[in-house]
């Protein structure tokens, strides 16, 4: 069964690469991600059906839509966190244009090193600020002191946290504010130098100032990394995304109903459901 025959209304893919390619650079270790006919079910409950989507490299693709339409499940198929959910079954494939997909399918740990993730709520480990980053590096076999120090400082600088914490790196990560903790979690993902970043509503628990900082970071990081963002904030999607994918629950199953550049989708939505959803905002 093909993607289009499953949908009541076929997805409208409007110039998916147009905006993204303008900000893409020539970083060799990155490329586009392609979801091919992805369906996700939890036991007997199908949550996503036949989604085909191309995520351009070094850009931000925002997945929007009401709760329960399978956006987060889509994210979990990229780094195979869905493997950890009892009863979860994924069909279809996620292809990375610059990675050995066969190897990624075999080795989830290798895949997750390439694909970092930021969650809805900051979730630092119960360690010091320094050890939160060092722990991930050491577990991946990076133990040379100079390399570890350099990577940690670089990651903390990249998220704009270095100047705020450089004098208290041995303090508990929980002594940081919510926004700082979220940036620490981002640094923890960046320290492994991933090519892709998945973000599952990363600002939903943050105040407007911290949200602004995270959004600035998303824009900056997207110059060198492919970012897939789930958000309920249409304003945020408009501000940071170059491509937007609109999900909707049709016949009790989440489907991709429209996908296009942020400009096109927000200014000239073509699907009726997209128009009415944007009208609520």
């Amino acid at each position: 069964m093909t993607h289009s025959t499953l949908l009541a209304t076929p997805p409208l893919v409007a110039r998916p690469y147009a905006a993204a390619q303008s900000i893409a650079d020539s970083r060799p270790s990155s490329g586009h991600i392609e979801f091919d006919d992805i369906s996700v079910r939890y036991g007997n409950n199908k949550v996503v059906e036949s989604v085909c989507l191309k995520v351009p490299r070094n850009s931000v693709t925002a997945m929007i839509g009401p709760s329960g339409c399978g956006k987060s499940s889509m994210l979990y198929t990229v780094n195979r966190l869905c493997d950890l959910i009892p009863g979860c079954c994924v069909t279809g494939s996620v292809e990375f244009s610059w990675l050995d997909n066969e190897q990624m399918r075999k080795d989830a740990i290798l895949l997750r090193r390439q694909v970092g993730m930021l969650f809805q709520r900051p979730n630092p480990f119960p360690f010091s600020i320094w050890k939160n980053l060092e722990f991930a590096l050491k577990q991946h076999g990076i133990r040379a002191k100079a390399d570890v120090n350099e990577r940690i400082e670089s990651a903390l600088q990249e998220v704009g946290l270095w100047d705020e914490v450089k004098d208290r790196l041995s303090a508990s990560a929980f002594s940081l504010s919510g926004g700082q903790q979220q940036r620490l979690c981002l640094a923890r993902a960046l320290v492994l130098q991933p090519a892709v970043l998945l973000m599952d509503e990363p600002c939903s628990a943050l105040d407007p100032i911290s949200t602004q900082k995270i959004e600035d970071l998303i824009l900056r990081l997207s110059r060198t990394r492919t970012i897939l963002l789930v958000t309920h904030s249409l304003g945020q999607a408009r501000r940071v995304a170059s491509q937007v994918a609109m999900f909707w629950k049709l016949d009790g199953v989440g489907r991709l109903i429209e996908c296009g550049s942020a400009l096109d989708l927000f200014d000239q939505p073509r699907h009726d459901l997209t128009k009415s959803y944007l009208a609520y905002a």
Partner: protein, 289 residues
């Protein structure tokens, strides 16, 4: 003084408030009453000699040194056997099995049934298996292993709850970083769960220390100083039972032994608590760079 009662305008609420106060005070009184009796009656027996001498005249005089050593040995054997098993069960239930799968359901059900089995039944089981079939006889090892079977459900339940409460979020965020499950378990989940593990350990330890019926069948009555765990040894709870029921004129030392048991419980609980705090600090590395 701003009390809850003064801010309650309705008689019905004041009545309810009064009921709560009376209930709370009754709970405290029920807890303190036996403690007070044991302290008042037992403090006369306590002296340095009481802790450093062997019992004589069937326990009416002398001390309780061999009894203390046997008790600590029995509890140590039981914890050494039960703790790794309970931890393995907890890891199996929280990290490996599907929560609603038949394996996890059967394990939880078995633990619940085991927790409800009377201690005297465990005693008979220990007598049959460890003392007779495995040829251990009446010994500290047989008593400790039987106690281990008895405290296993309590300990496994407590450890499972502690690991579950340590949070799914660390497991998921660890996996998202490409960390292996054992790495996240040992470096993140266990340190976070340590206070809960400590609470379970104290609960199991106090249950083992206070147990009498199981040890009557398995560890024996001998009040001599044990030379190995294959020797018979009398636990302090059996010593109290024996002095109060079988030895005329032994009540004074029975109360003294009961007070010694309370002190031992307090010292061990505080030690485990402090050891856990130290380990928690050391493992989470809040002061390390």
């Amino acid at each position: 003084m701003n009390t809850l009662g003064s801010s309650l305008p309705y008689p019905r609420d004041r009545l309810w408030n009064g009921f709560l106060w009376v209930g709370s005070l009754l709970v405290v009184a029920v807890l303190l009453w036996p403690l007070l009796i044991v302290v008042l009656e037992g403090s006369h027996a306590l002296s340095l000699e009481f802790f450093t001498q062997s019992p004589s005249d069937a326990g009416r005089s002398g001390g309780i040194l061999p009894i203390l050593v046997s008790t600590l040995a029995i509890v140590s054997v039981s914890l050494a056997a039960a703790l790794p098993l309970a931890f393995a069960i907890a890891v199996m239930l929280t990290e490996v099995c599907r929560p609603d799968g038949w394996i996890a359901t059967s394990m939880r059900c078995s633990l619940d049934v085991l927790a409800g089995v009377p201690s005297v039944v465990f005693g008979l089981f220990g007598l049959s298996l460890f003392c007779r079939q495995l040829g251990m006889g009446y010994s500290i090892a047989a008593g400790g292993l039987t106690l281990a079977c008895m405290i296993l459900p309590t300990l496994a339940r407590a450890l499972t709850t502690a690991l579950e409460a340590a949070g799914e979020q660390h497991r998921v965020s660890g996996a998202a970083l490409g960390l292996s499950q054992p790495a996240v378990l040992w470096s993140v989940t266990v340190p976070v769960a340590l206070p809960g593990i400590c609470a379970g350990l104290i609960l199991a330890m106090t249950r083992a220390l206070a147990e009498t019926a199981v040890l009557l069948f398995t560890s024996g009555y001998s009040d001599r100083m044990p030379e190995s765990i294959m020797d018979s040894g009398r636990s302090i709870s059996i010593h109290i039972y024996d002095l109060s029921t079988n030895v005329p004129g032994g009540m004074q030392n029975a109360y003294g032994s009961a007070l010694a048991l309370l002190l031992m419980l307090t010292v061990l609980s505080v030690s485990v608590h402090w050891a856990t705090r130290w380990m928690h600090k050391h493992m989470t590395g809040a002061s390390q760079r």
